[in-house]
């Protein structure tokens, strides 16, 4: 009987497209201490999400969380910054780690987006710490609508992850 029930449940679940119910539709569904992105409640704010020093946490709670009115990932294949920066769509580990930065809007060359063990020379952190939208060496700070708006705690976690070798964990 339990087996039969399982089969019935699985069959029924398959009919619904395999999509689990979302936690939220809008920020207000998450209470006051979290926000809603891609159907999931994330503790903190968009510029200061609560992170763990792992790539999966940084990716899902920070990189994939967007900006502007659409509140979607700017650096994705269908987003506004597609021509001006790397695509962070999906699981962008290889896009970031040991990957050269184009830095089209700045003069500095030979930059690496994430250099394992070396946060000081990881361009990702440089861009997030810039407060100018027209830095001559490094181009516009990020996120583009509000350069330098990422909070210190979030930057510290990203730095911690890079410092310990930027693993794909």
């Amino acid at each position: 009987m339990p087996l039969r029930a399982c089969i019935l449940a699985l069959a029924a679940a398959g009919c619904f497209g395999g999509t689990a119910p979302a936690q939220c539709g809008v920020d207000g569904d998450c209470g006051g201490s979290a926000f809603c992105a891609q159907g999931t409640c994330i503790e903190g704010t968009r510029t200061c999400p609560t992170l763990q020093p792992t790539f999966s946490s940084i990716n899902s709670r920070f990189l994939q969380v967007g900006c502007g009115a659409r509140q979607l990932n700017c650096h994705a294949t269908d987003s506004v910054a597609v021509e001006s920066g790397p695509s962070f769509f999906g699981h962008p580990y290889t896009t970031l780690v040991n990957a050269p930065a184009a830095n089209r809007a700045g003069s500095a060359r030979g930059l690496i987006l994430v250099k394992p063990g070396d946060p000081a020379n990881s361009f990702l952190l440089t861009k997030l710490r810039l407060t100018s939208s027209t830095d001559p060496a490094f181009g516009p700070g990020q996120p583009a609508p509000a350069p330098g708006s990422t909070c210190a705690e979030t930057l510290a976690v990203i730095e911690q992850w890079i410092q310990r070798g930027a693993p794909d964990d």
Binding site: A12, C15, C24, G39, R70, E83, A146
Partner: protein, 268 residues
């Protein structure tokens, strides 16, 4: 366990298609379509008296502003409003809000979207455009169609938006394209550098809304391509191939060599 005989297995297995049939027969209720007044300065106002669905948690409608080709699914989750472009980017059916799942679903082929438009389940492969929505002082629901996305610092003033090309170094090179939506502009913009020098022939500004089913057109190898159904346009918005059949909306643009000015006025 010994009792779980071949006969029992066959009987259980026979239930699978039945369950699938029952489950798959679940019908997604479409949301009521409501004609609403035309947008004013990009804001679509929906009177709650005309849309009582938006007074209860989980309620939703599809609003169609007068004079607009598009429609918008507007839902109330119980703690806030959300608005998505109603046309599914797969085949253009109107999505419907599924309150128990806090997702929008296309009743035609089952594509699913989060409240912010993120595609969660195929066959659609691109996101739905979302728009900020809230209540005004009278309690009416207002959908803000022209909210900027932050790409452009400047807002539309007196029907035009200006920005220095220095803000977008990619535009210094022929073939460079910037995609974004200035606050107050009626559509997302694709601004392209067509030629060296200055003047209106050096820069083009076209709507990034595909003339086929409204997906966002993206730059690709010196052209503009719709990721939904592969319509292709040149950088001036001229239709080249695909199901769209017509070109993109083009806006009047001027360029003095340092500053680009795009008008909300369309041109032929």
């Amino acid at each position: 366990m010994a009792d779980f005989t071949r006969r029992a297995m066959i009987r259980t297995a026979a239930l699978v298609p039945l369950a699938a049939k029952v489950g798959c027969a679940r019908r997604i209720d479409t949301n009521r379509e409501l004609a609403v007044p035309a947008a004013v300065d990009g804001d679509v106002t929906i009177a709650l008296a005309q849309a009582p669905e938006l007074s209860k948690a989980g309620g939703a409608i599809v609003a169609r502003p007068q004079g607009s080709f598009g429609a918008y699914m507007v839902a109330y989750t119980g703690s806030g409003y959300l608005a998505l472009r109603a046309e599914c980017p797969h085949e253009g059916c109107h999505v419907a809000w599924v309150p128990e799942d806090r997702q929008a679903e296309c009743p035609c082929h089952g594509s699913r979207f989060a409240g912010d438009g993120t595609v969660l389940n195929p066959p659609a492969v691109v996101n739905l455009t979302s728009f900020p929505a809230d209540a005004d002082a009278q309690g009416n629901v207002v959908v803000h169609l022209f909210a900027g996305d932050g790409t452009f610092q400047e807002k539309v003033q007196n029907g035009q938006v200006s920005f220095p090309v220095a803000e977008f170094p990619v535009l210094a090179n022929v073939g460079g394209v910037v995609l974004g939506r200035p606050s107050g502009f009626p559509s997302p913009l694709l601004v392209s550098r067509l030629a060296a020098g200055s003047g209106p022939d050096a820069i083009a500004a076209v709507s990034a809304i595909c003339s086929h089913l409204g997906c966002t057109v993206l730059p690709a190898s010196g052209m503009l391509r719709c990721p939904c159904h592969e319509s292709v346009f040149d950088l001036t918005g001229r239709f080249l191939q695909g199901p769209a059949g017509t070109g993109l909306v083009r806006y009047t643009v001027t360029f003095d060599g340092t500053t680009v000015t795009v008008s909300t006025t369309t041109r032929a």
